[in-house]
Amino acid sequence: MTMCRATPLLMLLAASPCFAADPPSFALTSDTAPYCAQLAKQVADRHSTSLDVQRLLAEGRDMCDRGQVRGGIRRLRRALVMLHHREPVAQ
């Protein structure tokens, strides 16, 4: 955990108190298998007829199932972006 932001000069000199101790790390939940499943559900729920979307959904699910979570999430996100541009979600 840091209380400040390292300036470029301090980073260069590596003398910043920000680097004095190993700070705690906060885990992001958007790189996990449950999130992958959640994204896959979001895509699937849109019932898109687009072949590209369906292909990306299949590839994403498959990769997440094989443990390649980040790759799977990336494909599912691309599918969502495509859906957003073709079929905007009603706000």
């Binding site: 209380m3 932001r5 260069l12 906060f26 969502l80 706000q91």
Partner: protein
């Protein structure tokens, strides 16, 4: 090596080069790093502004939906969001818990985050929403960190290149400096060894080294000329003074041995004294020339109006000219000012007039003129005598030089040398030309710039009436 000026210059060059180059590289590094920071901050602020607007439009459900959408479409996989309720419990976002360090809104914090097991850095900012809700928006900056690392590595790598280039440049500078100094040093060594003929070679590029070589060569020319002058003067003194001294001795000896009466003895002694007076006058003239050449009198320079001064001289020498059956004509402006030494200038012109009278044939006309042209004032004396042959003119201003035509007339050969010395004291020169017939001697000196144009009398020249010679003159 430590005492080598070349090495010192080389080191200074190397240091200056390295510092300049490093300053440039560091500036580029800093600018790039700052630009990346600003871009991330701008992205976070824009993102947060959009979210706050959604909150304003649809409250917490709209905000949560938007965050879900943005996370879902975050192909770059760099967005970080978190929303907590008034009880500070997680409501939405991809950050597991609220970082305790992110206390104040409006401040950017740097967090270490773990993304799929890999550690990374993120910039985050807190925004407080109405009703006690808190929003955290951030960006993963691992790309920026990586770029910064690359730049830092490039910075250190460039240091090595800069050091190498600086060292190479320093080596070249040292070689150049040593080559130039070696040339000057070799010339100086040769001259110190007694040979005054070597000169510093010029590269022909017209650069500072060439100008230095030119200055040194000019100095050497001057030294050689002075040495020649000293040698010549020593010889001339030995040669020219031997005759009058020998003559004085002979007169004294003759008076002592053969004088039949006191009056004869007195006459002999008086003749010897006259001879010795001539010797003294020569020494006096030599010392005066030396004094002028040293330039010490320049500190006493003042504005001199040549008009009245030359008129006075014409009046004095007019009488002498008349005695010799000559006419002296004067053509000078009413006022003609220069910065100089009045006594010295008077002496110089007197010398020229004395020579003109001495060498003019009966019935001849001597012209004393002065004028200003451009930035020069020219005082000239023209006679109708035999003049000085062109071949002798360059040497005519040397001490004790006496041309063929002057051998038969009395004089010491110092008159023109003194005139030349006076002209040079005034940063001018003495010009000797053919007056067809006769000699035209001109003293050309710089004019005073603030003095206006002079009134040259249109009524024609006037002739000096009478007067006496103010001081001795020599040719």
């Amino acid at each position: 090596m430590i005492r080598s000026a070349g090495l010192r210059f080389a080191v200074i060059f190397g240091i200056v080069f390295a510092l300049s180059a490093l300053a440039l590289v560091f500036f580029l590094w800093l600018s790039t790093a700052n630009l990346l920071d600003r871009q991330v901050e701008a992205a976070i602020n824009a993102d947060a502004q959009g979210l706050v607007e959604r909150w304003s439009e649809g409250g917490i459900p709209a905000l949560l939906l938007t965050i879900q959408e943005r996370l879902g479409e975050n192909v770059d996989d760099d967005a970080i969001y978190e929303v907590t309720d008034p009880a500070q419990q997680w409501v939405a976002g991809n950050l597991g818990s609220w970082p305790a360090s992110v206390l104040n809104p409006g401040v950017f914090y740097e967090l270490q985050v773990t993304r799929a097991g890999a550690k990374s850095l993120a910039d985050v900012r807190r925004y407080d929403l109405p009703g006690g809700f808190r929003l955290l928006v951030g960006r993963d900056v691992r790309g920026r960190v990586e770029l910064r690392r690359l730049l830092t590595n490039a910075l250190f790598s460039s240091m090595l290149v800069i050091a190498a280039l600086g060292a190479a440049g320093a080596f070249v500078i040292r070689k150049l400096f040593r080559r130039m100094v070696a040339e000057v040093s070799a010339t100086a060594d040769a001259i110190a060894g007694g040979d005054l003929t070597p000169r510093v070679r010029r590269s022909g590029r017209g650069d500072e080294f060439d100008r230095l070589a030119e200055s040194i060569n000019t100095m050497l020319e001057r030294i050689a000329k002075l040495m020649d002058g000293v040698r010549q003067v020593s010889n001339a003194i030995a040669h020219d003074l031997r005759t009058p001294i020998t003559r004085a001795r002979a007169r004294l000896e003759d008076a002592v041995l053969h004088a039949g009466s006191e009056s004869e003895l007195r006459t002999g002694v008086e003749r010897a004294v006259a001879d010795l007076d001539n010797v003294t006058a020569v020494f006096h003239a030599l010392m005066r020339i030396a004094e002028i050449e040293v330039g010490a009198r320049r500190s006493a320079f003042a504005e001199v109006d040549l008009g009245p001064m030359l008129a006075d001289l014409a009046e004095l020498y007019g009488a002498v000219a008349e005695e010799h059956g000559l006419a002296l004509r004067l053509a000078v402006p009413d006022t003609l000012s220069i910065l100089g030494d009045r006594d010295m200038l008077q002496q110089a012109v007197a010398n020229l007039l004395d020579n003109a009278i001495k060498f003019s044939p009966d019935g001849g006309v001597i012209r004393l003129q002065a004028s200003r042209a451009d930035r020069q004032v020219r005082i000239s004396v023209a006679d109708e005598g035999p003049g000085i042959p062109e071949a002798d003119r360059p040497r005519a201003t040397e001490r004790f030089f006496r041309g063929e035509t002057a051998r038969s007339t009395p004089g010491s050969g110092l008159g023109l040398a003194l005139v030349q010395a006076v002209a040079m004291l005034h940063e001018g020169n003495l010009l000797l030309e053919d007056a067809r017939p006769g000699l035209l001697a001109t003293i050309a000196v710089p004019a005073m710039l603030h003095v206006g144009h002079m009134n040259v009398p249109s009524s024609g020249p006037h002739v000096a009436e009478s007067g006496t010679v103010a001081s001795p003159a020599y040719r």
